[in-house]
C-alpha cells in the first residue's frame, strides 16, 4: 500500500511528471529558440537560456496590481502547470504508461484546456485592458484549435477501433500497443491527412508563430501576461514550454507509436534478463521520444516561426476551421469506411 503510494508519488514528481516535464520542456524550448536564431542567420541564445530565464524570474520581485484578485492572480499559474503535469502522466512513453484508463483520449482533451483556462483566468484577474484583449483572442484561438484536434483524435480512435474490433478505441495505451504490433499509423495512407492536420494544430495550441495573436508582445504587451512579474510569470513561461513537450509527445504516441515496437525487438535481440531489459527499454523509450520531440519541434514550431508573420485572429479562426479541419475530416471519413 505504502509502496504503491510512493510509486505514484514518484510518477507525479519525477518521471513522467514534474521533473521530467521541467527539464525536457525547457530544453525543447531552448532548442527551438536556437534553431529559429540559426534560421535567421543569428548566433542565438545558449540552449539553456529558458533555464536562466526561469531562475531569474524566480529571483524577481512579484508585483500584485491593486486591481487584481490576489488569490486568483497567484494560484492560476500553478493550476495551469499542474494540469499540464497531469496531462503528461496520461501520455504513454511507448510501452510505459503511468496512468492508463479506458478513455484517456477524452481526459487528455479536457486536460489540454486547463492551461489555456488558467492563463485566461489569471489574466482576467489582473484587470488590465491588455489582458482583456489577450483573453478574448486566446479564447478564439482555443476554440479554433479544438475542432481539428477533436477530429484528428476521432479519426485515430476510429482507425484503431476498427482494426481491433471495438468500434471506437479511446485508450491511448491501446492505440500505442496496436501500433507497436502493426506499425505506425503515419505509414497508413488514410492517416496522413490527420497527421498533417495535427502538425498544424501544434503551433496553435502552444501559441507560437504565426498563431500567437493572443500573446503578441509587440502590440498588446504579451496580452494576459502583461501584469505578471517574478515567479508567477516564470511558471507561465514554464507551462508554455511544457506544452510544447505535451503536444509533440502526443503526436509521437498517436502517429509514430510503432517505433516502440522496434525498441522492444532491439532489447529482446540483446537477450537481457527481466529487470535490466525493462530498465533499458524505458531508457531507450525516453531517449527516442525526446529525439522525436526535437524533430517535431523543429518542423512544426521553429521552421514555421522563422518563415511566417503573425496572423490576425479572424484569419487564425478561418484557417483552422477550413483548411486544417478539412484535412482531419478527410482522414475521419476514410477511417470510417475502413481504409
Amino acid at each position: 500500500m505504502i509502496l504503491e503510494a510512493v510509486k505514484y508519488l514518484a510518477y507525479v514528481l519525477i518521471f513522467p511528471g514534474f521533473l521530467f516535464c521541467f527539464l525536457t520542456g525547457l530544453l525543447l524550448s531552448g532548442i527551438d529558440r536556437k534553431l529559429v536564431a540559426r534560421m535567421q542567420k543569428r548566433v542565438g541564445p545558449p540552449i539553456l537560456q529558458p533555464f536562466y530565464d526561469f531562475f531569474k524570474l524566480c529571483g524577481k520581485e512579484t508585483i500584485i496590481p491593486a486591481a487584481a484578485n490576489r488569490t486568483v492572480f497567484l494560484m492560476a499559474p500553478l493550476v495551469g502547470l499542474a494540469g499540464l503535469v497531469v496531462l503528461q502522466l496520461f501520455i504513454p512513453v511507448f510501452s510505459f504508461t503511468a496512468f492508463s484508463s479506458v478513455a484517456d483520449v477524452i481526459v487528455i482533451l479536457y486536460l489540454l484546456l486547463i492551461p489555456a483556462l488558467s492563463i485566461m483566468i489569471g489574466g482576467g484577474a489582473t484587470g488590465s485592458p491588455y489582458a482583456g484583449v489577450g483573453l478574448s483572442r486566446e479564447m478564439v484561438t482555443v476554440l479554433s484549435c479544438e475542432l481539428p484536434l477533436v477530429l484528428v483524435l476521432l479519426a485515430v480512435c476510429k482507425k484503431v477501433g476498427a482494426a481491433t474490433g471495438t468500434g471506437l478505441c479511446f485508450s491511448l495505451t491501446e492505440i500505442v500497443r496496436y501500433q507497436m504490433a502493426n506499425g505506425s499509423l503515419l505509414g497508413k495512407l488514410s492517416m496522413i491527412p490527420a497527421a498533417v492536420a495535427f502538425l498544424m494544430v501544434i503551433p496553435g495550441e502552444t501559441g507560437s508563430h504565426p498563431f500567437d495573436a493572443a500573446e503578441a508582445e509587440t502590440e498588446i504587451c504579451e496580452g494576459m501576461l502583461a501584469e505578471y512579474s517574478g515567479a508567477p510569470l516564470g511558471v507561465y513561461k514554464l507551462s508554455h514550454s511544457v506544452k510544447i513537450l505535451s503536444m509533440t509527445s502526443l503526436f509521437v504516441m498517436l502517429f509514430l507509436g510503432g517505433i516502440g515496437g522496434g525498441i522492444q525487438n532491439l532489447v529482446l535481440a540483446l537477450g537481457l534478463a527481466g529487470g535490466a531489459a525493462g530498465a533499458l527499454t524505458i531508457l531507450l523509450d525516453v531517449i527516442v521520444l525526446f529525439l522525436l520531440c526535437v524533430i517535431l519541434t523543429a518542423v512544426a514550431i521553429s521552421f514555421v516561426h522563422a518563415v511566417t508573420a503573425r496572423l490576425k485572429i479572424e484569419q487564425i479562426f478561418k484557417y483552422y476551421w477550413t483548411v486544417v479541419s478539412a484535412l482531419a475530416l478527410v482522414s475521419l471519413v476514410l477511417a470510417w469506411y475502413g481504409l
Binding site: 529558440r33 536564431a37 535567421q40 542567420k41 543569428r42 548566433v43 542565438g44 541564445p45 545558449p46 537560456q49 533555464f51 536562466y52 530565464d53 526561469f54 531562475f55 531569474k56 524566480c58 529571483g59 524577481k60 520581485e61 512579484t62 508585483i63 491588455y130 508582445e217 509587440t218 498588446i220 504587451c221 504579451e222 501576461l225 502583461a226 501584469e227 505578471y228 512579474s229 517574478g230 510569470l233
Partner: protein, 147 residues
C-alpha cells in the same frame, strides 16, 4: 545553492524595456539594430519585453520632455526589483541640442538613479552592447545585495 543559481541566471537573462521620452527616433533605431541579426544581442540573453513588469533593464532615449516625464517615472516604478536604468544617447544625460528648451525636463538623473549612461548622438551599437553588458553586471550585484 538555489540562491547562487538565481544569481547566475540574473546575469544571463536580462530583459529590456525601452522607453522613448521624446527621442528623435535615431537611438530607437540603433537599439533595434542591436537586437536584430547583425549584432544579435539575444546571444547574451537580451530580449525586448513588451511590458515594464517583465523587464530587468530600462533603456531610456530622448531628452525627457515635460509631457513624457510622469509617464517615464511611472513606467520605471513598475519594473520589479532588481532593476537597472540605462540612458541611451546624449539627450537623457544632458539635453543635447534641446538643452534649455522650455519643454525639456532632463537630465533623467535629477529624478531617478541612473546606473549606466551611454553617450553619443547616436551611440554605436558596440557602445550600446557594452553599456548593456555593464548594466547586467550591476544587475547581478543588486541581486546579490537583495536578502
Amino acid at each position: 545553492m538555489f540562491k547562487k543559481l538565481i544569481e547566475e541566471s540574473t546575469g544571463k537573462s536580462p530583459w529590456l524595456f525601452h522607453i522613448n521620452a521624446g527621442s528623435c527616433n535615431g537611438c530607437d533605431i540603433e537599439l533595434v539594430s542591436v537586437l536584430t541579426p547583425r549584432y544579435d544581442a539575444e546571444r547574451l540573453g537580451f530580449k525586448l519585453a513588451g511590458s515594464p513588469r517583465h523587464a530587468d533593464i530600462v533603456v531610456v532615449t530622448g531628452p525627457i520632455t515635460a509631457q513624457s516625464l510622469p509617464r517615464v517615472l511611472r513606467s520605471i516604478e513598475q519594473v520589479p526589483e532588481p532593476r537597472c536604468i540605462v540612458t541611451m544617447g546624449s539627450c537623457p544625460q544632458s539635453g543635447n541640442v534641446f538643452r534649455g528648451s522650455y519643454s525639456i525636463c532632463g537630465p533623467l538623473s535629477k529624478y531617478v538613479h541612473v546606473d549606466v549612461d551611454v553617450a553619443g548622438c547616436t551611440p554605436k551599437p558596440e557602445a550600446v552592447i557594452d553599456g548593456l553588458a555593464l548594466a547586467t553586471q550591476i544587475l547581478q550585484e543588486k541581486r546579490r545585495a537583495m536578502k
